[in-house]
């Protein structure tokens, strides 16, 4: 599934004293099978942008074109496409409502019109994708789970709709380091198994460096930078002015280079940094 965003503009409370331009002339393409990182300061328009991608918000100007169809259309084709774009909101566990985990995960497929058996089959599969044992969890109340488990159940609720594109808005917010790591490992695993494209909204540069193959940077409703992680993270000065930073490994290598060490600075992950340091010093 190819998502093309063209000249997207959105203004909140137009004509009111609180009028704010949330998006202004945003253009980019999400290629099928890509893993895109979306970064930007709080309030830069990231959340507004992703709500356009599955039709929750309608563009005031511009369009979101998925496989040649404008998804704001009222046609059945556009409706079907919107359902192929799964959106996981921030703190998705706040949307849980059913009596049991299984029923909650079934909510999405049921709305798609699946039969009961089909729903349960999809739900159990989705639970296994997020690393939960369906048999052990299916009859428990979602409100009695731990924070990390709740989040997994909520993500399973979106995965059970079998999207072709998965959009995650800060899926690791408020989790401890172990939970953080395991959620992202899970995302990576899902991408490998289901071959979907992923858009990850995050504040964590290390995650972007480690996972993404394409990066979008937003500021004040505009798309200000776009490229591969290496391209983006080679522009330290520009990122600083946007209130963003480098991945830790890149920063370390930059500092070493500044002090006169002969090391490469096109390093993104801890592992690459380790190898480069070993090469340069030992």
């Amino acid at each position: 599934m190819r998502i093309e965003v063209k000249g997207l503009t959105h203004v909140y409370s137009e004509g009111m004293p609180f009028e704010t331009v949330a998006l202004e002339d945003v253009n980019f393409v999400l290629e099928p099978g890509s893993f895109t990182g979306l970064i930007g300061h709080t309030g830069s328009g990231k959340s507004t942008l992703i709500q356009h991608l599955n039709g929750l918000l309608r563009p005031m100007e511009g369009a979101v074109i998925v496989d040649g169809v404008n998804i704001a259309d009222k046609s059945d084709a556009a409706r079907a496409l919107r359902r192929k774009i799964g959106l996981v909101f921030q703190y998705p566990e706040h949307q849980l409502f059913e009596e049991t985990v299984l029923k909650d995960v079934c909510f999405g497929p049921k709305n798609l019109g699946c039969t009961q058996d089909e729903c349960e089959e999809r739900a159990l599969h989705a639970l296994s994708l997020v690393g939960l044992d369906g048999k052990a969890f299916q009859d428990r109340s979602p409100f009695g789970l731990s924070g990390g488990e709740k989040r997994r159940v909520a993500i399973a609720g979106v995965l059970a709709m079998e999207p072709d594109v998965l959009i995650l808005d800060e899926p690791t917010a408020g989790l401890d380091p172990a939970g953080h790591r395991s959620i992202l490992d899970m995302v990576r695993q899902i991408k490998r198994e289901r071959d979907l494209s992923i858009l990850l909204v995050t504040h964590n540069m290390d995650d972007v460096a480690r996972l993404a193959d394409h990066v979008l940077v937003m500021q004040s409703g505009r798309l200000v930078m776009e490229g591969t992680p290496l391209e983006i993270f080679s522009e330290d000065a520009k990122l600083q002015t946007l209130g963003l930073s480098l991945p830790q490994a890149t920063r370390l290598m930059n500092m070493l280079a500044e002090r006169g060490c002969d090391v490469r600075t096109d390093i993104l992950t801890l592992q690459e940094a380790e190898e480069e340091i070993v090469r340069a010093f030992i």
Partner: protein, 268 residues
């Protein structure tokens, strides 16, 4: 989303003379204005009320567009009462459509009610538009404090009101978020018959209640952590004081009230 259109209870930031009046003056003023709307018995009275509220709106700097937008949620009520009054009032017929008759008195009364409703909304929404919720409840608390003698817990009531007002936007935001999250999972809040729609609200209401309880718990904890123990012996950082402005405003108010009474009792 229609949720965002509700102006009742919203604050419109500003530094106008109306904004700076003592909250007690504003509450009293609003109360008197609302009372006069029910005292008015002919159009001249409404002209006076309209002129009064228009003057206050102009002074406050709240855009007229904003005020009119506040009418939208009760538009149905206005139209409904107008139609009802037009057709069911007995009197001298002017136009006849089959069994339906529009009478002279009907037209008169319909216009009367519509005007009254609109002015009511203008008057009551203006109070919250020009007064911060916290200041407003402080004013209410002070106005109610004489009732402490009859064991009415005015501070606790005012605190409850403050909290309720404070959480309207928070809960609206929360509703909006949960609605979007469930819509993204294919929930449909807008179609189907009444029963289906009511059932469709469960995925919205359950998480909303859970959030409300979570927020309430957090708030109680935060208040306790700052040693809140009710109104006894509590003092204020920003005391309230009547000023020259308030004296002026009260004079205008009395003059307006007297004029309304005059219009009601004279020429009748």
């Amino acid at each position: 989303m229609a949720i965002k259109d509700i102006t009742l209870g919203q604050y419109f930031p500003g530094e106008s003379i109306v904004h700076r009046l003592d909250p007690r003056t504003k509450i009293l003023g609003t109360f008197v204005f609302l009372v006069t709307l029910f005292l008015v018995n002919r159009f001249a009275g409404f002209a006076l009320s309209a002129a009064f509220i228009a003057g206050v709106i102009a002074l406050s700097g709240v855009p007229v567009k904003f005020m009119i937008r506040g009418l939208r949620p009760i538009l149905f009520l206005i139209v409904f009462s107008t139609i009802l009054n037009l057709f069911v009032t007995a009197g001298t017929p002017i136009v006849q459509f089959g069994p339906l008759t529009i009478t002279e008195e009907g037209v008169y009364r319909a216009a009367f009610m519509a005007l009254r409703l609109m002015l009511l909304i203008f008057g009551s929404s203006l109070l919250t538009l020009v007064t911060k919720p916290i200041t407003l409840t402080d004013g209410i608390e002070r106005l109610m404090s004489p009732l402490n003698i009859v064991k009415l817990p005015s501070h606790e009531l005012a605190m409850m009101m403050t909290i309720a007002l404070r959480f309207i936007p928070t809960l609206l935001d929360e509703t909006d978020k949960i609605m979007k999250a469930q819509t993204a999972r294919g929930a449909d809040f807008e179609s189907g018959n009444l029963f289906r729609r009511a059932k469709g609200l469960i995925p919205l209401l359950v998480p909303l209640f859970v959030s409300a309880f979570r927020i309430a718990g957090d708030l109680a904890m935060a208040m306790e952590a700052r040693c809140y123990r009710g109104g006894k012996g509590r003092t204020r950082m920003n005391g309230m004081a009547f000023s020259g402005r308030d004296a002026g405003a009260l004079c205008v108010l009395v003059a307006y009230f007297a004029a309304t009474i005059y219009l009601r009792t004279m020429g009748g």
